[in-house]
């Protein structure tokens, strides 16, 4: 298999965030501000990404608007022909903070919503007034003529409100809605028994999404992500390890996915010492689970090995202790009972939420 150029770059420019969502996809060891890359380094990463063939860049975090140089980064990405996406909580987004971003060429903003009820949204985000600020942010994005994606993060407590979420997204003028069930990595794995919906709850959400897709066909794109614990086959995580995407973290670590730092068997490459191109083609980390040669059974002889690429390496590591194992979500994995046990344990689980915070 010949190696092609990457298509997308997830730029997690900071881990700072005013929200404390207990299902944050950031690692448990958050990077402090003092260890963040300087502006010049990010500008260079953007130049390297464009030269390498990357077409879309996603500014994320943490909260990317926490960095004062975001406008500069967007402008550079736009100048280099990259399609720029801002993935934000929206609580710092106002007409005033958005205007320079729009002027810098930003076409699209993805706003995350924890819930559509004020109290529930505040409980999940750990941020007072979050819903009101997000709704105001959505108005500002649409008023500025930018494309809005409303991303609703779904878990046990809010899954009955999915039809109302989609209606809110439509009313706000979103072009695209994501109904995204929590995936269980990092912080959400800690809170799994408190967040996982039941099978019956999941089925209700799925039916609601299908109905809304029919209602809004041709007018609104609705993307849907189920909790992979309920799937028979694993997700094609990152469309395959080192196949399409690169993730750069706040301190310049370059990863095949945002949880890949949990893999401890090879060095984690960093942009301060190695070029993006060298990391993509030659680093031990990106080559570790690239393609299919690394696979053991049941993946190795599986007819789906180039459909799901063995699933998620970090989930295999977290739940089986072996990052080269078949994703335990897979019904063909001997570790599938671990997933079924987690689902059984989650029914009625009411442990207190552990919020995302910096450790001392």
């Amino acid at each position: 298999m010949s190696l092609s150029s990457p298509l997308g770059l997830l730029a997690e420019i900071t881990h700072r965030c005013p929200l404390q969502c207990p299902y944050c996809s950031n690692p448990l060891d958050l990077i402090a501000r003092s260890a963040e890359l300087p502006t010049a380094q990010w500008l260079d990463i953007i130049d390297q990404a464009a030269a390498l063939g990357i077409l879309q860049i996603h500014f994320s975090g943490g909260e990317p608007m926490a960095r004062s140089d975001l406008v500069q980064l967007v402008e550079r990405a736009n100048d280099r022909g990259l399609y720029t996406n801002l993935i934000t909580s929206g609580v710092q987004l106002t007409a005033e903070t958005l205007a320079p971003l729009a002027a810098a060429g930003l076409p699209h903003v993805q706003l995350s919503f924890q819930d559509i009820e004020t109290n529930a949204a505040e409980t999940m985000s750990g941020y007072r007034g979050s819903l009101e600020k997000k709704r105001a942010a959505a108005r500002d994005v649409v008023a500025a003529g930018l494309s809005l994606t409303a991303n609703f993060v779904v878990q046990r407590d809010n899954c009955t409100r999915v039809p109302a979420m989609i209606e809110l997204g439509a009313v706000m003028g979103a072009h695209r809605i994501e109904i995204a069930h929590v995936q269980y990595h990092g912080w959400s794995l800690v809170n799994r028994a408190r967040l996982l919906p039941s099978r019956a709850q999941l089925d209700v959400v799925t039916a609601a999404v299908e109905q809304a897709r029919a209602t809004h066909a041709g007018k609104l794109v609705i993307d849907y992500v189920i909790p992979d614990y309920y799937a028979d086959y694993p997700k094609a995580c990152m469309a395959g390890w080192g196949r399409r995407f690169i993730n750069v973290g706040p301190s310049g670590n370059v990863l095949p996915c945002h949880a890949a730092e949990t893999v401890k068997t090879v060095p984690i490459p960093n942009i301060q010492s190695t070029s993006l191109s060298e990391i993509w083609t030659g680093s031990a980390l990106f080559n570790l689970y690239r393609g299919t040669d690394w696979m053991a059974e049941p993946c190795r002889s599986c007819d789906r090995r180039e459909i799901d690429w063995g699933g998620c390496r970090c989930q295999a590591l977290a739940l089986t202790g072996d990052a080269a194992a078949t994703d335990p979500v897979c019904s063909r994995s001997s570790d599938r009972p671990k997933i079924d046990a987690a689902l059984a344990e989650a029914v009625g689980g009411d442990a207190p939420l552990v919020y995302r915070r910096f450790s001392r």
Binding site: A51, G53, L55, Y83, P107, H108, L146, S147, H175
Partner: protein, 94 residues
């Protein structure tokens, strides 16, 4: 099955959709939020004429003249190809 666009319809790229050359791979791409479309050679020639001023039939007439092809055949292809992209949110039609 997508319904073909009206010949009088005027397609344009919305502000958040970019039709551009992917220089590294030497091909044209349509970029949208969390989406990428790679139009084939014929579609690229059609999309290069999408400017928010030309109608579907004007685009077809220009291509028919350029390639000395029957205009009704070209029009059918153009109207269907553009309808498909519009259905996926990558084109607006006035």
């Amino acid at each position: 099955m997508t319904q073909a666009l009206d010949p009088a319809a005027i397609p344009r790229f919305p502000r958040h959709v970019r039709f551009q050359l992917d220089a590294v791979r030497d091909r044209w791409v349509v970029l949208a939020p969390e989406r990428m479309f790679v139009p084939d050679e014929q579609a690229v020639e059609i999309l290069k004429l999408v400017d928010g001023a030309r109608s579907v039939s004007a685009i077809a007439a220009e291509l028919a003249a350029r390639y000395q092809a029957p205009e009704d055949v070209v029009l059918a292809d153009v109207a269907l190809m553009l309808a498909d992209l519009a259905a996926r949110g990558a084109l607006q039609v006035a």
